[in-house]
Amino acid sequence: MNDLFNKVKKNLIWKSVFRRDYRDNVRDRALAIFGNVFLHLHPVKVRESAVKLRYTWGMGGITFLAFIILTITGVVLMFYYHPTVDQAYSDMKDLEFQVPYGVITRNLHRWGAHFMVIVVMIHMFRVFMTGSYKAPRQFNWGIGVILLVLTFLLSFTGYLLPWDQLGFWAITVGTNMGAATPLLGYQGPFSEYLHITPYNDVRFALLGGAIVGGNALLRSYIWHCIAIPLIATILMVVHFWRVRKDGGISRPQNN
């Protein structure tokens, strides 16, 4: 067994992938982190409390994991989905009855989305309870709040895509709120002074029309699959960067 192990490790391909041996010493433990583009997100050394589950509950990391799972299952779903009024619903039926593993892919995406919303709220609660928004992390808390909103919006824009009664009416109810925006929604206070009508107000801009129809479906789709994930990814990069630049996971100042 050991022999086989050594043979594999001496293999040219193995070496080209991992570049060097791992011996359990300080240098290699550090190299394992900054020699790897993914693990390199971490510092080489961390405070013990950052490793203890009871402090962070791993909630930020779990939120990120949920986002990755949603990206992967989402890409798979995109292969089978057309964002048109004619096809969207029957594509869902195909996922259910025709596509191999279609049901579980969709389930993972749906429950993963609920899960992400739950854990991001718990992450915010943890950060609040440990006072981690205090100096020097004020800005990163702000980034976090935007990420929270984007998480809600990701989930919300995905709601319409199956083009079933649930999503259709949830989006109808939700975007009707836009019509009530002061000044900019046609039912909102003061909007008559700006000559706002159902055809030029906020709701119209959200839906690409005065009703929830094909344009609204396309807009949801693009926000959901491209625009919001892109913005969220960029903000996550900043968020993680700032966690490190602000001195790593917060901890009691010992003085």
Binding site: R29, A32, L39, V44, K45, V46, R47, E48, A50, V51, R54, Y55, W57, G58, G61, I62, L65, A66, I69, Y89, K93, N107, L108, H109, W111, H114, F115, I118, M121, F125, R126, F128, M129, G131, S132, Y133, K134, A135, R137, Q138, V145, L148, F156, D164, Q165, L166, F168, W169, A170, V173, G174, A180, P182, Q187, G188, P189, F190, P252, Q253, N254
Partner: protein, 294 residues
């Protein structure tokens, strides 16, 4: 089937049940650690984490991340095997479901529609929630309790945040999911929904309580005075109070911070106040103007 079991086992509601369980668990864990640290500190010991040394990231942190990831993926896989995502009938613009509910995380806002007009419940209040959250680090100038769980060192900020988070956000969501039926009427989870049910609930406006028509000029003035008194009184009264009790704190806070904090706080408290006005006194509007109603 028992309607209670039926409603909590609906596929999408299982997420809410999981949320309730997870949030309760972490709430208890957070406060338990907070009280424990408070005890340590008052006995003169270091709080949890204060004496920690640095450790290697590889492997302790990477190991625990791997384990958590596996556990989460296992959990989601089991969830996805056991429960299928629902797909309702194809969208039909002519067939309005009753009730038409927003996604669960927005149900707190939808619940506010019972008490506020849409421009407030759907636009102004949500925007203020976001702005208020972002503002927290800049208005909370208490330097204590940074980097560990504590309650005694940050009593007020924790109480206010918890009220907003657990009551005004999560509790309203739970009510929206489990207790709202057709016509957005209240149903206990074990009650059967009844589409025919109409509840005649006479409502009035605040000035009607003293016998003045709310859509008249005197009614308008009364409303304006009450709303104005709430906003302005809410600004001045705590100022006077703190000036006597703790003038240094006011000094440190400064005017901008003070006004922001108090504005956000009285806006937040207007939610429970309007709920009570509505539920106990059957008051719908406090102030009716030609442009908007509050």
């Amino acid at each position: 089937m028992n309607p209670f079991i039926e409603i909590i086992t609906q596929p999408d509601n299982i997420a809410i049940v999981i949320m309730i369980l997870m949030v309760s668990f972490f709430m208890v864990w957070a406060f338990q650690q907070a009280f424990q640290n408070d005890k340590l500190k008052s006995a003169g010991y270091a709080v949890d984490g204060e004496l920690d040394k640095d450790v290697d990231t590889f492997k302790p942190l990477v190991r625990i991340e791997l384990l958590i990831s596996l556990a989460v993926m296992l959990f989601l896989t089991v969830w996805s095997i056991v429960v299928d995502a629902p797909l309702e009938e194809i969208a039909n613009p002519t067939l309005t479901p009753n009730p038409a509910k927003a996604p669960w995380y927005f149900l707190g806002l939808q619940e506010l529609l019972v008490y506020f007009d849409p421009w407030l419940a759907g636009v102004v209040l949500p925007s203020l929630i976001v702005v208020g959250l972002i503002a927290i680090p800049y208005i909370d100038i208490n330097p204590k309790g940074n980097g560990y769980y504590t309650f005694s060192e940050r009593k007020y900020s924790i109480l206010i945040f918890s009220f907003g988070f657990f009551v005004l956000w999560l509790l309203l969501i739970v009510i929206g999911v489990f207790d709202r039926g057709p016509g957005w009427l209240w149903y206990w989870p074990w009650q059967e929904w009844d589409i025919q049910r109409v509840v005649y609930e006479p409502t009035r406006d605040l000035s009607n309580l003293v016998g003045i028509e709310s859509r008249s000029l005197p009614g308008f003035i009364i409303g304006a005075v009450v709303v104005g008194a709430y906003m302005i009184g809410g600004m001045i009264w705590p100022y006077k109070y703190w000036q006597k009790k703790n003038p240094e704190m006011l000094q440190q806070l400064g005017m901008t911070r003070y006004v922001t904090i108090v504005f956000l706080f009285i806006t937040m408290m207007s939610v429970p106040i309007k709920m009570i006005l509505r539920l106990v006194f059957l008051v719908k509007y406090v102030w009716i103007t030609p442009w908007f109603n509050v």
